[in-house]
């Protein structure tokens, strides 16, 4: 439960953003997205998530990830591959409703928990509607947001999460797309089969995931 959480940060407190960014640790399943200012497209947001996942954002064209569909498929694939348990989205109040919809779909498909951070006194009305039916939890302080998952273990400790058929299909499609990692990235760039343990962190220099998964 509590898969969808919204943190209100009405003072836009630097400590909130800093505290969450410090928790960005993809190797442990925690990814914090810090959206690029001055962009509003779903495509740009997909690239922000890919960047947070450690993918090289200066090779989007070369990796054929410029388009929104391929970018989101890659996001879903890497979310599962990296076994992302917690996805935090800063500046969420500045995103379009479509981006919220896509994030909620993504987390539903990947089984990840999402924390949407609104640096506003309340959830903007245009975004609140997206949350209908999600049973979201509203948080008002950083300590709540930093509260660990309690007894919920991280899959890196040996557990794996089942994939829904929709996601399996997405990953199969995405697997035909080459995805490279960042030079010196914290991630392995090798393909991890479904259900396998988390890839071993490496300092690889941008290897390519073989097609076919």
């Amino acid at each position: 439960m509590d898969k969808v959480r919204v943190l209100l940060d009405p003072a836009d407190d630097m400590q909130v953003s800093a505290g969450l960014l410090e928790r960005h640790e993809p190797a442990r399943g925690r990814v914090v997205v810090h959206p690029t200012p001055g962009t509003s497209s779903l495509q740009a947001f997909a690239h922000d998530v890919l960047g947070a996942l450690g993918r090289a954002v200066n090779r989007l064209d070369a990796e054929q990830l410029a388009g929104p569909a391929t970018a989101w498929r890659a996001v879903a694939a890497w979310m599962v591959t990296d076994q992302v348990e917690d996805l935090v989205v800063l500046r969420a109040d500045r995103l379009a409703a479509g981006a919220w919809t896509r994030v909620l779909e993504l987390c539903r498909e990947t089984g990840s928990r999402v924390l949407l951070v609104c640096h506003t006194p309340q959830i903007p009305a245009r975004l609140a509607a997206v949350l209908a039916g999600t049973g979201h939890q509203l948080l008002t302080g950083l300590p709540q947001a930093l509260n660990p998952r309690g007894t919920h273990p991280h899959p890196g400790s040996g557990q794996t999460r089942p994939l829904g058929p929709a996601l399996t299909s997405r990953i199969c499609r995405a697997s035909s797309t080459r995805i490279s990692g960042t030079t010196g990235a914290r991630h392995s760039t090798s393909w991890a089969p479904q259900g396998s343990p988390a890839p071993t962190p490496s300092t690889g220099t941008g290897g390519t995931r073989p097609a076919g998964g």
Partner: protein, 256 residues
Amino acid sequence: MSTWTDIDERDDHYLGLAGANVVATEALLVLRDNLADVVAAKAMMCVHGDAGLGKTLSVNASLRALAPADVCRVQFRARPTPRDIRHVLFDALAISGTPPTRPIEFDALLKDALSERFRVLVCDEAQWLSRECFELWRHLRDDRRTDITIVFVGGGDCYRVLRREPMLSSRVYIWQEFRRLDREQVLAVIPAYHPVWADADPEDIAYADVHAGHGNFRAWSKITAHVVTALARLDRGRPDREILQWVFSRLGGSGG
């Protein structure tokens, strides 16, 4: 846009006034302490106040002493967009190659450059910035890899513009307002400001301040430039009421 390397000490002074000195006003002394603290904290600062009060000169002079090799100064004269800021920073940081077209790639490049070593980014005329522009500065500052201090300098309603942005209110470590010099301060600093005032009668300095200076350094720069001209033409050693009235006539002041 101008970068720090384009600016020498002469450019600090309005009109590039020859012989002008940086004088140790109370505001300048406080600014030096404040900048030292904000640089040490790698935080954000806002220096605000009406035009002509010496904000930019004081920031330039202070940082020239505090962190001469680390300053990157950018200035905007119209309402910039985040794209403008990215390009200005690209140039100011002397990043090689072609600027990327995608904002995310551009920001990644800027963050790489701003992570290489510590820098003080001075953003002058900050009152022109929009919320989206402030978001970009905040984004760069909040990034865990970047190693920067940001100093916003602005006149007019800069304070109001920055204060209404919670993202800045919570992040600006020090706010400093520059105010007009009061009469006592004028009498203390103007003789040191330029040699033409060194031997001037304090009553004449006060007279000039009442009618044209108004405690504003930019106004005093203009007065001084005209006084220099008048003294040269009349071959006199120091300003007097007659010279000051001639200066006022050029400035459109009351002339008393």
